[in-house]
Symmetry: C2
Subunit: 248 residues, 2 copies
């Protein structure tokens, strides 16, 4: 399908978010380099999920490919949020060592297109075992050692996500098809780093006619079982408010 000739100076990087009903997580890939002879560990840190694009591959397709490779998942929310081309983004000592070691002949000036991916955590757990890829709470990223400018890319992604979630119904991408209102509330709280009043939150949701209650209820929980809800994109598109205003 692809030419399998990589573009040496253009890549995509995916910042993949997941929600475990408690906190927001990000999927990171181990990067490890050992000395060929001594076995000494030269590099041990984390990277975002990313790779160069193929010559005859669309940007979006490249991001989807990377996501599929890593998680086995298709049809994921995936959206460009920014591009990064700082001259020194690949200039770190470790990063230079790495680029030399992998011997792919990549350029020293690589522009990368950042993608935001939102995935339903419950769907992906199985696929990850034994891969050098793991979920980390977003709060932990600060103290982690990361490759290239991936920490900066991550922060930009967080920012973009927080902006977007206030204004578009993308939070649902992080939840399973059926979810409870408490889960939805916890998700918004995790995303925005705020906390909301339960009753007011529910009143607000009640006005979103595209969040639809189901007959189904929770089972096997040691408390009053919660009602399940469903997000209908179709209803959303039809009823989205055309309100034109500004809040600055």
């Amino acid at each position: 399908m692809f030419s399998h000739k990589l573009v040496p100076n253009i890549s995509v990087d995916c910042v993949i978010f997941g929600f475990d009903f408690e906190k927001l997580n990000v999927l990171l890939v181990d990067r490890e380099l050992k000395d060929e002879k001594t076995g000494e560990i030269l590099i041990k840190d984390y990277t975002l999920a990313g790779y160069h694009i193929y010559e005859d591959e669309e940007l979006d397709a490249a991001a989807a490919r990377i996501l599929k490779d890593l998680t086995g998942l298709d049809n994921i929310f995936l959206e460009q949020f920014a591009s990064f081309g700082q001259l020194d983004r690949v200039a770190g000592e470790k990063d230079q060592l790495w680029l030399k070691a992998i011997k792919k002949g990549f350029s020293e000036r690589i522009v990368t297109v950042g993608y935001l991916a939102l995935i339903d955590n419950t769907k992906v757990e199985l696929h990850l075992k034994d891969r050098d890829v793991k979920w980390f709470p977003v709060s932990m990223v600060e103290e982690m050692d990361m490759a290239f400018d991936h920490k900066a890319i991550f922060y930009k992604a967080m920012e973009a996500l927080q902006k977007k979630v206030k204004v578009e119904p993308i939070a649902f991408e992080l939840l399973p098809d059926y979810f409870t209102l408490s889960q939805l509330q916890k998700l918004y709280e995790a995303l925005l780093g705020a906390s909301f009043d339960k009753r007011n939150f529910r009143k607000k949701v009640a006005q979103m006619h595209y969040v639809i209650p189901l007959k189904k209820k929770q089972k096997g929980v040691a408390h009053k079982p919660a009602q399940y809800y469903l997000f209908s994109r179709e209803v959303y598109e039809k009823t989205r408010k055309g309100k034109i205003s500004f809040i600055i």
Copy 2:
């Protein structure tokens, strides 16, 4: 300063907006190609302001350079809004002809980073004379013939601008340092394609403590002279509302 070696497959394109107190305009560059012998016009259309980046040039710097070349202006609001890498974005018949004619050896797969530029129209008029560059009302773009995927880029820029203006005080970038409230209102109306009630608009602005009335008044107008106002970014940064909420 620069290596003057261009990166053959990475460019930036600036969508430059201006406001003439009546409507929103965009700055476009003439593209014309004549047959060397017959003088026949082979291509005649418009492009965004864009060019390839230099090998040792930051993306932001490249955008600023292009803007400076075209308008003579420095210190302009300039922000990335999206990147474009469709395989066929340079594949049009005219575009291929053009690329061949200019003989720069650019790649057939060019990824371009789109920048939004907002400029104060009153400052730029002088610099443009006799250049192959002109303001066009944004409403006119639809029916114009544009190079590459520049029409699509323009629409994305419009979208990004409209989203951003609702939520950040960037409209002021399109106005002179001193402006009247009617000018500000006209601008918001032009940007959002809506119309607002004058009194309500003014009440809203009155709550923005970073829009500060000056002693100065209009002069020489055939009606009650308007008060001038000033946008203070400093006050904005200090008083920006930390309100955490969402409207979807």
